[in-house]
């Protein structure tokens, strides 16, 4: 990169916020996926004015610009595949307002998800999206990838809470899309275009988020199955019968054994599958709901149902769920985590297809995930240094995307497209849909400055 550009960037934000040494660029060349793309320079602006100036500078010199939050993404959305500027937004970390009367929060893009969730909780309200990376991820990143989480079954995902935002467009203009009013409907929902856009259409700098009531009570249940099919069928039937738990997580036998091996919390290691179910609401409502959940489980062949009676028991079960990632890491170091999602009625079919794929390519695959919203997480446990195996992994991943789409599903339930799924995007959008996306990108960002190589410019 020209020294002139780096000098100008330093002039804009201060030399200490611009890094162009190889050692630092390497540290900003990756997210939670396994490939690396070096940015030419890393810039950490402190406010919207600086971001505007950087965007204009990128336009002037035709330099790619890729926004980055905490880089915990699982599809490669914040990785600068075409180099250029890595725009780190973590300095914009103010919670501007939590308006309890109107149940709206205004936060800057770099606020850490958990910090925000805790602040809302303290104010007596609730912000439900709970991606596994919440301790680290930023709200801006959650919006760029449309993050979800276990609570998605009942409460939906990030997009369901976005009322509006402040965005820096590729020409450097700043617009407010949507506003703080919950029922605003002045023209199209432009803000929705930005949710899941991975920083390809604009740089989100401030967000208006909807807040909801805190549930007064919750109950966790563990249903044990000696057939994975039965467990999958339970998920479909439960949703079909109109019971919407807060969370409905599935774990297959390999997952159960890995976690038990790692945590020793007394999980049923001989079970073919378990469902971890949480219901929340008022005490009276959850008792009734828990009862109905148990009936469906029994009807579908659960051999045993345990209700966590104490907070400690509840915590133990959720600890087991959170331990899946590390536990699997102990089996094989490289974890290829997918989030292909299908209509909930198709969960049993999808589970069968996944097992066939794993068998066909002779791969170790664990199946777990937010079954309740159709979002399974088939994880292939591999070793990135084993090139022959990694080729089989690639083929298996392609096949599982195809399976999800054939069943009327989608490539991503919550991780986004990034560089990893960009080659398959057309399968889902079709030629026409892809062309429309491309045209839209063309209109908003004719120079293809923002995050090139992702979504419609891959």
């Amino acid at each position: 990169m020209q020294q002139q550009i780096i000098a100008e960037l330093k002039g804009l934000v201060g030399a200490q916020y611009v890094m162009d040494q190889l050692e630092d660029r390497i540290c900003y060349s990756f997210d939670a996926t396994f490939r690396d793309f070096l940015p030419d320079v890393v810039v950490k602006p402190g406010n919207v004015e600086e971001i505007v100036a950087i965007v204009k500078l990128a336009g002037k010199y035709q330099v790619p610009l890729t926004a980055r939050g905490a880089a915990t993404g699982l599809s490669g959305g914040s990785v600068p595949v075409k180099g250029g500027i890595s725009l780190v937004l973590t300095r914009l970390d103010k919670i501007v307002d939590i308006d309890t009367e109107n149940r709206v929060a205004i936060v800057e893009t770099g606020v850490i998800t958990e910090t925000f969730v805790n602040a809302v909780n303290q104010a007596g309200l609730f912000y439900p999206p709970d991606p596994a990376s919440a301790k680290t991820s930023t709200i801006g990143g959650n919006i760029a990838e449309c993050a979800g989480g276990p609570k998605g079954v009942k409460y939906g995902i990030t997009r369901d809470y976005v009322l509006g935002m402040e965005v820096v467009l590729p020409d450097g203009s700043v617009v407010e899309l949507g506003n703080k009013v919950d029922s605003e409907m002045t023209g199209p929902d432009w803000g929705m275009l930005l949710v899941g856009s991975e920083g390809t259409l604009g740089i989100v700098t401030k967000v208006y988020l909807k807040l909801v009531d805190k549930p007064s009570a919750k109950q966790t249940l563990l249903a044990i199955f000696d057939s994975l099919d039965d467990a999958a069928r339970t998920v479909s039937e439960m949703i079909a019968s109109g019971i919407i738990p807060t969370t409905l997580e599935i774990m297959d036998n390999l997952t159960i054994r890995a976690v038990e091996d790692y945590l020793k919390v007394g999980l049923p290691v001989n079970a073919e599958a378990i469902l971890l179910i949480e219901v929340d609401g008022s005490a009276a409502a959850i008792a009734k709901q828990a009862d109905r959940v148990m009936q469906v489980c029994k009807r579908c062949g659960a051999t045993e149902i345990q209700a966590a009676s104490t907070p400690a028991d509840m915590d133990k079960l959720w600890r087991a769920r959170r331990a899946i990632s590390p536990a699997c890491g102990k089996i094989n170091p490289t974890k290829i985590s997918e989030d292909a999602t299908v209509p909930r009625s198709q969960i049993p079919v999808m589970v069968r297809r996944l097992r066939e794929i794993a068998q066909k390519y002779n791969l170790k695959m664990v199946i777990f995930g937010h079954a309740g919203d159709g979002n399974l997480h088939p994880n292939i446990l591999s070793n990135k240094h084993d090139h022959e195996e990694m080729e089989r992994v690639e083929q298996a991943v392609e096949e599982l995307f195809k399976a999800a789409l054939e069943l009327g599903g989608t490539l991503s339930g919550e991780h986004g497209i990034g560089y990893m799924k960009a080659p398959f995007l057309k399968w889902e959008t079709g030629e026409t849909g892809f062309a429309v996306g491309k045209q839209l990108k063309q209109v908003v960002d004719p120079q293809e400055l923002l995050n090139p190589g992702k979504l419609f410019t891959a």
Binding site: M19, Q21, L22, E23, D24, I26, C27, Y28, S29, F30, D31, A32, T33, F34, D36, K44, A70, A71, T72, T90, R91, I112, E114, S133, K135, T136, S137, S325, P326, G329, K330, P333, T334, K335, N383, K384, H385
Partner: protein
């Protein structure tokens, strides 16, 4: 791949880059820079092993930006042993690029045990030349900035003791009917800076009917040297100490310094090469105990006297994560009548000292320390107890700078008081 990087591979490949380290690393939280996180450093070492990055001085500078507090080791979902990985990298980098002259001279000085001892005793006499008294007897302030010695001018450092611990007490401290024979490994800071805490430990041990030997030939534990990558000096000191401690037929080896204890108990295992010395080390490492661990194992010896004070406790990194000691000091403090114990938020989070880290990166170190002080002050405690002299020094510095009335004591000093031993 270059052979010297092969040992890293099974750790490097485990990192799934999830970024959980960002949520626990104090340096990252203070600096907001991915080059301070464990996953950033792991990626740097991966690039080195792939031949994409040489062992540059710039890399050395970044690998130095780590407190070795082990928070990432504990917090890592994939169990990457980042502490061992980063130490090994620091060694290769020091071999390649050398160390700053001041460090190199200081570490070499450590190997001349008698000369080092003389130097610090002389230092105690002449310290007034370069240092002036901080207000209210809080310690010393540098008269001139000494960046090459890592001393910020606002930093308050404790004075050197005019009579070091090991000159105050005989090598062998007998009791009438000894039940155990204990070696007390004092380390440098208890000897030269906080001898009163060292004396408290000896008194407690004697109250437990222990014959206490303070080996005169013990050297510095070597932590400052090997954590900076100087394995030559680190290994030399480790071998000297292992031989001396293996020689005395001790039942227990007691420490009152978290870093010394963690070095004797665990870290030596990673730096010793000679198989014979390693065998000796395996023998002694099992005997190494922090003083609070020793007391709890033996059971509280006598009826405890009342100590009227509100006390909070700070977990030194090398005690809680290095030696696995965290319950014992709390149990003991809470057992003392009159003590109102108040747990602080994030008690096990690093205080920011990190040994030589606080010299090289004083401002980051101070930011991290200020979080600790905020949490400690929120408890309303009058005394902060801890088991590490380096933490004590750094926390005392911070309290002095904010004119706080909170006092820092070694846990053993409070227990000695409850034992009626002062």
């Amino acid at each position: 791949m270059d052979k010297k990087y092969e040992a890293w591979q099974n750790q490097l490949v485990k990192c799934i880059r999830c970024g959980t380290c960002r949520s626990v690393c104090p340096v990252f939280q203070a600096a907001d820079n991915e080059n301070t996180t464990a996953r950033g450093k792991v990626r740097l070492l991966e690039a080195v092993s792939e031949g994409k990055l040489p062992l540059t001085p710039e890399l050395q500078q970044r690998m130095g930006k780590c407190l070795l507090c082990k928070a990432c080791v504990n917090g890592c979902p994939s169990g990457v042993k980042t502490d061992e990985l980063f130490l090994s990298a620091r060694k290769l980098l020091a071999d390649q690029n050398g160390l700053p002259l001041a460090k190199k001279l200081a570490f070499t000085g450590l190997t001349y045990r008698k000369l080092f001892d003389l130097g610090l005793k002389m230092g105690a006499v002449f310290q007034g030349v370069v240092f002036k008294e901080a207000p209210k007897g809080r310690g010393k302030l540098a008269r001139i900035p000494m960046p090459s010695a890592g001393l910020s001018q606002r930093r308050i450092i404790p004075p050197l003791a005019s009579a070091p611990l090991r000159t105050r007490l005989p090598e062998t401290n007998t009791v009438s009917s000894p039940k155990v024979r204990v070696a007390f490994y004092t380390g440098c800071m208890l000897n030269y800076i906080y001898p009163e805490a060292g004396e408290a430990i000896v008194k407690i041990l004697k109250a437990h009917d222990a014959e206490v030997v303070i080996p005169a030939k013990q050297s510095c534990c070597g932590t400052p040297a090997f954590t900076s990558g100087d394995y030559q000096v680190g290994r030399y000191l480790a071998e000297e100490n292992i031989k001396i401690l293996a020689d005395g037929d001790y039942d227990d080896i007691v420490t009152g310094c978290a870093s010394c204890g963690a070095a004797l108990k665990h870290e030596y295992g990673n730096i010793i090469e000679d198989p014979k010395v390693k065998q000796l080390w395996e023998k002694i490492s099992k005997k190494v105990k922090d003083i609070t661990e020793f007391i709890v194992e033996q059971g509280i010896k006598q009826e405890l006297r009342e100590v009227k004070a509100k006390i909070t406790y700070h977990d030194p990194c090398h005690l809680v994560r290095g030696m696995g000691v965290s319950q014992q000091p709390r149990q003991l403090l809470q057992a003392i009548p009159g003590v109102e114990y108040a747990e602080m938020k994030d008690a096990a989070k690093c205080c920011g000292a990190g040994g030589t880290f606080s010299m090289a990166h004083y401002e980051i170190s101070r930011t991290i320390n200020d979080w600790k002080l905020d949490n400690a002050e929120k408890t309303g405690a009058a005394i902060l107890a801890t088991g590490c002299s380096a933490c004590r020094m750094h926390i005392t510095d911070g309290l002095g700078q904010r004119s706080s009335n909170m006092k820092v004591l070694h846990t053993a000093e409070i227990i000695a008081k409850a034992y009626g031993l002062n």
